[in-house]
């Protein structure tokens, strides 16, 4: 009834006012307990993020004065042949790494999701490279890829194939970095996908078997659609990780030969901590951030078309 509405509204308003101190009392302890984390987050994450953005418009060689240069760093990056080569390498690495690691981790997850006792051992074995020190495994791979004394060329020689200078040939250096990265990370994505596979009701597979569906048909019609949410998550992680490869590049090829395997994250490191071009490195980092954001948005937009909700 209209004549009662204001009174009801006034009562509600009074009630809210009465609740306000109670809510404040409710939030205060939570805020106090969270404040160390919030202060840490603001000081050591948010402030550097904003400060790096400001720096990207400056010329700052760490101990020199900061000089405002506007968009000069961004213009230089887009016009520099070296920076363009690095951006191209990053795209090429992503094109190799993402499909490679997703296909391998899905294959491992499907094969090892069979409930056999031995699967636990193999899951551990495939996960091991992910938790092993990157430098240690990369040194082992350096020996495998060695031109004259490497295991890979020795095996190729045994079957009558010509060996390659895997780490010293511009055509092979970046694929070599991608192979090691895929090998190292596949175990991690495999674990995520196994968790996704275990949420699929086995009844679907039983029904499909009764209907005479073959393994590939079951994989294509049941596993992939029902795994698509986990796959989407893995795809986003792999895309972001592909743009951030650093340790393996550093220890395996040092970005060579002649920058053939230098990707954006490694180039940012070189500019920031070897040449101390902080402003330039910040601009590179923001270009990387922008690219990752764009690709992630694109993924979320495409999600509607292939992710089974």
């Amino acid at each position: 009834m209209p004549q009662h509405a204001p009174r009801t509204g006034a009562r509600a308003s009074q009630s809210r006012l009465a609740q306000r101190p109670a809510r404040w009392k409710h939030w205060l302890p939570a805020l106090l307990f969270l404040s160390p984390a919030i202060v840490g987050l603001v000081l050591f994450r948010l402030v550097p993020i904003v400060w790096a953005f400001v720096l990207s418009f400056t010329d700052w060689r760490i101990f020199d004065d900061i000089v405002w240069v506007g968009f000069d760093n961004y213009i230089h990056i887009l016009s520099s042949p070296v920076a363009r080569q690095v951006l191209g390498n990053t795209l090429w690495f992503t094109a190799m790494y993402v499909p490679g690691v997703v296909v391998l981790s899905v294959s491992l997850a499907v094969v090892l999701n069979n409930g056999l006792r031995s699967s636990a051992f193999f899951r551990g074995a495939f996960f091991l490279p992910y938790i092993t020190a990157t430098v240690a495994i990369t040194l082992a791979w350096r020996w495998i890829f060695s031109t004259r004394f490497g295991l890979l060329n020795h095996l190729l020689d045994m079957v009558g194939l010509q060996g390659q200078a895997w780490l010293a040939d511009p055509a092979w250096a970046l694929p070599a970095v991608a192979i090691v990265s895929i090998w190292k990370d596949a175990g991690f994505y495999m674990i995520l996908l196994i968790a996704g596979l275990q949420t699929i009701d086995p009844g679907y597979y039983e029904a499909a078997r009764i209907d005479g569906a073959r393994p590939f048909r079951r994989f294509y019609a049941i596993t992939l659609p029902l795994l698509s949410r986990s796959l989407f998550f893995v795809l986003i992680l792999a895309l972001i990780r592909s743009t951030q490869t650093f340790e393996i590049t550093y220890a395996l090829t040092n970005g060579g030969p002649n920058r053939a395997s230098t990707t954006l994250a490694f180039y940012i490191y070189q500019n920031a901590f070897v040449h101390f071009e902080m402003g330039y490195a910040a601009a590179l980092a923001y270009l990387l951030c922008f690219a990752i954001g764009l690709v992630t948005l694109l993924n979320f937009w495409l999600r509607k078309r292939w992710v089974h909700e």
Partner: protein, 433 residues
């Protein structure tokens, strides 16, 4: 509850402490509890220098030297951050490759007013000059090194070739490299190459400077690769193309400093600091020696230069005890250090230490360490500029710059002219920033 302050008052200690404070203020600086901070990039060196530092502390009662060391990859970012925050140590290790930009940034104290007329006596003058930037002595040498030609005497004897000497020409070198290239099983891959080279500064630049070549203009503001430099690099590339030296990619996976010691190449040019590693690696496997890099055909007395550089100590402008810091630098670079404090091949900046039998390594290979001292007496050229590591391609940036381009040449993938054009364009971009 009695507070500390009231306790002091109660026991009449406050006036006593004040009196002690006045007394302490009147004492000479060295008698106070003073801490001198010292940073260096070699953690192994800390143990070596510990006795000398202890001796300095004994000679300066009340002074404690706080030493901090970290690997080079961490050292430069760390000290750069400290420079930005105005918190540099009193004394820091300084590299020949970085001294220009550190001096230009005003981080290094000009030691000239502290150095008396006689303070330089006893040091290698050429090594001292490396720390002299624009007339200001901003760093002082502790040791210095120079690239030398390593040669496998046993292989030379087997091939019937005379050992390298000061009269060798490039053609003598080429003939020796050819004679020393041995493919025993005729499979097309020599078991022993005559020479080993890639784009690294210590491999190529001695040839360039000994041919009178230069990469940069006299003021170091731009890259301008001279014809003698081009000729020297073309000579090295021809050795690879002719099969007397391996393509660098063929030896990928082998540490570059081990190629000679493993007997895979009979000659090699690199820094004298590799003598230590080569001694350990070769042992008694074969006989070896060192010689000077052959002089090039384009060199003139005015342009020919030996290549050498120094590891130095610098007093920073953040110090508040410059006199004490300079005393420490003198102590750590002078006669206090013995020959045992230097890795084989690193020459003590103090001449008398370098001339001792211990440093000359009598009874060990090579038997002619005096040769390095002779190099130190020659006119030196370093070619270092601001951002040298970037345009030259060094350490974590070693895959790029001139290093990366020359590797493309030595691997047979790029003509020398294209490589030098690309390196010049990149280098000038770096230097103009």
């Amino acid at each position: 509850m009695t507070t500390k302050r009231s306790a002091l008052r109660a026991f009449g200690l406050k006036p006593a402490l004040c009196a002690f404070g006045m007394f302490a203020g009147a004492m000479p600086a060295a008698a106070q509890d003073t801490t001198l901070t010292y940073m260096l990039w070699s953690p192994e060196q800390v143990e070596i220098e510990a006795p000398a530092i202890a001796a300095f502390e004994s000679a300066h009662p009340g002074v404690t030297v706080k030493v901090q060391a970290m690997p080079p990859a961490d050292y430069w970012p760390r000290v750069s951050a400290q420079a930005a925050s105005g918190d540099l140590p009193d004394v820091m290790a300084m590299s020949s490759g970085f001294v220009q930009e550190w001096a230009a940034a005003g981080n290094l104290l000009d030691l000239s007013p502290y150095i008396g007329d006689s303070a330089l006596d006893g040091y290698f003058t050429s090594a001292v000059n490396i720390g002299n930037i624009g007339g200001a002595q901003v760093a002082f040498p502790q040791n210095w090194v120079a690239p030398v030609l390593y040669y496998n005497s046993t292989a030379f004897d087997a091939a019937g070739v005379g050992y390298p000497n000061a009269t060798w020409t490039w053609e003598d070198f080429r003939a020796a490299a050819e004679a020393l290239t041995v493919d025993e099983n005729a499979d097309g891959t020599p078991e022993q190459y005559g020479y080993w080279v890639y784009g690294r500064y210590a491999h190529t630049d001695p040839w360039v400077f000994r041919n009178g070549g230069r990469y940069v203009t006299a003021d170091g503001s731009a890259l301008d690769i001279t014809q003698p430099a081009v000729n020297a690099l073309a000579f090295l590339a021809s050795l690879v193309d002719d099969g007397f030296a391996p393509r660098p990619q063929e030896l990928e996976g082998v540490r570059q400093q081990d190629v000679f010691g493993m007997g895979m190449a009979a000659m090699w040019v690199d820094g004298s600091w590799n003598i230590d590693n080569t001694r350990k690696l070769v042992g008694d496997t074969f006989e070896w020696g060192i010689a000077q890099v052959p002089m090039g055909p384009d060199a003139t007395p005015e342009t020919a230069a030996a290549y050498a550089w120094a590891d130095m100590l610098a007093v920073t402008t953040d110090t508040e005890q410059a006199d004490l810091a300079w005393a420490f630098v003198q102590h750590m670079t002078g006669p206090t250090l013995s020959a045992a404090d230097f890795t084989a091949g690193k020459v003590p900046a103090w001449t008398a230490t370098a001339e001792t039998e211990q440093w000359l390594g009598r009874g060990q290979q090579p038997d002619n360490m005096e040769l390095i001292l002779e190099i130190g007496e020659q006119p030196l050229y370093t070619g270092f500029t601001r951002n040298w590591s970037d345009w030259r391609g060094y350490a974590a940036a070693g895959s790029g710059g001139l290093n990366g381009e020359l590797d493309e040449v030595f691997n047979g993938r790029k003509p020398l002219s294209d490589a030098l054009a690309a390196a010049t364009a990149y280098g000038n971009d770096v230097l103009s920033r």
